[in-house]
């Protein structure tokens, strides 16, 4: 799946930490949150495998913008958090 800039996405609400040893670059505070794709940043070896010296597939990485006050229930309207999220952590948001 290729995600285009402007596409509304949701970060998967998944917690691999509860299932065993892992290395995840998707911060806890963004799991399950909705955002908007800003840009495709390129393809990078999947750190979830690379961290364990396993063969790591080239994986698309996106810059995704989140509304900062919505994440925490506090803040200044219009402020944002932008994070690098790998494609397999993103799903299209319904609305």
């Amino acid at each position: 799946m290729t995600l285009a800039p402007g596409m509304r996405v949701r970060v998967r609400d998944d917690w691999p930490e509860t299932r065993g040893t892992c290395h995840i670059r998707t911060p806890h505070y963004l799991r399950g949150e909705r955002g908007v794709v800003l840009a495709w940043l390129g393809e990078f070896p999947n750190p979830e495998d690379a961290a364990f010296a396993r063969p790591a597939a080239e994986t698309p990485l996106y810059h995704v913008r989140f509304d900062q006050p919505s994440l925490w229930g506090q803040g200044t309207p219009g402020d944002a958090v932008v994070a690098e999220i790998f494609g397999h952590w993103l799903e299209e948001a319904d609305t």
Binding site: T26, F44, P47, G75, A80, A83, E84
Partner: protein, 192 residues
Amino acid sequence: MSLLEADSDRLLAALRGLLAEKGIASAEEIAATVSATDAATPAQGARMVAKAWTDAAFRTFMLADGTRAATSLGIPMRGLPPLGVLENTPRMHHLVVCTLCSCYPRAVLGYPPFWYKSAAYRARAVRDPRGLLAEWGTTLPAGVQLTVVDSTASYRWMVLPLRPAATAGWSEAELAGVVRPGDMIGVTVPTV
């Protein structure tokens, strides 16, 4: 004897020997990396910022591809993560953090300062960024939006700050002299 009790010089020599023997990294490659690491200081980032302030074409180049822009100024980027540049404007301020660890644009800023790696900075930068900025003495003018960039994966990010007023006619070297590491992370803004 455990690894922690081993003599560090002998341990380092043994590790270098193994890396060479296994063809992972030669003595020359290690020396080149050490020298590139030593050359990486905030003065490199300041040089890029000052050039962007005085050369519109370089500014466009740097915003489009920070890695190639740094390389064009002789900053070693080979083997390092790509560099992204975040443009501050009169309407938008950027703040860089790595909430997961301490990812920092080392090629252009050198080693991260202690506070950048602290749990307090990493948590508050995303949760209460304006409160954090206030403690640095940075108050954004009304109408300026704040974007916090969490450096979570494969890129490294630096901020291209706004050129301070009252620097008209300054040379690139003079301009580079006012750019501090915090200005390129976004906790502060350049002043004269």
